[in-house]
Assembly symmetry: C2
Homo-oligomer: 131 residues x 2
């Protein structure tokens, strides 16, 4: 199951704040942060797996759908709130779809960017991930 | 001067991606990430300084204004694009205003949350920051 984890939201009259950093919220050391936005035509994104990177996805504006397929986790989840996260383990094929025009997807990872970490061929991934 | 640093934006038909993690983009180890949103009434936020925390601010949706005052940097900057960052050094009084209703302000810091790190009294801050 691709299960969302609810994050603590600190709210008052000024609005909301969600903070992650302790091990309970992010089960890894944050090495890289990236954000995806401006997908006005609802293209599919990702369509790859990471060999050794764990990712935490949070949709901080708008919504999108994440579909995961791998030995550790598989399933789909609608990301539509800034206080819910989805963990994507290494060796998990990730497909991102259904971007709302205002979607901003925040991703925290435990590695710096390395093209060699990415598997972009589905057949190759399936061969590697097979038990 | 409160100067923005332009971040590299990777763009194609699917939209945009901005990634930070290398030392050139974030001049510290990321320990905590938080995001502020839902400020529909345009309240002022922050109004405090950190004793030992460096922060990097990026407005990933909408816009807001950051006003900085401290020995290292002072000035004001409109944060209105997801590919520009503003560095806030320790011992800098920070005031956030002019939130657009859709503003999502992303903040990366080099410390875990510690209430003792925050100075919320402006007179106290001025006394500590005085040369």
């Amino acid at each position: 199951m691709a299960e969302l984890t609810r994050l603590t939201r600190h709210s008052d009259a000024r609005g909301h704040l969600v903070s992650v950093g302790a091990s309970a919220e992010v089960p890894f050391s944050i090495r890289r942060v990236f954000w995806i936005y401006g997908n006005t035509a609802r293209f599919t994104r990702a369509e790859h797996a990471s060999r050794g990177t764990t990712q935490m996805l949070v949709c901080v504006a708008g919504s999108c759908r994440a579909t995961l397929d791998g030995p550790a986790v598989s399933g789909t989840a609608l990301l539509d709130r800034p206080d819910a996260s989805l963990l994507v383990p290494p060796m998990t094929w990730l497909v991102l779809t259904e971007f709302s025009p205002d979607c901003v997807l925040l991703v925290l990872t435990d590695t710096l960017y390395d093209p060699a970490d990415t598997i972009s061929d589905l057949d190759h991934f399936r061969a590697l991930a097979a038990p």
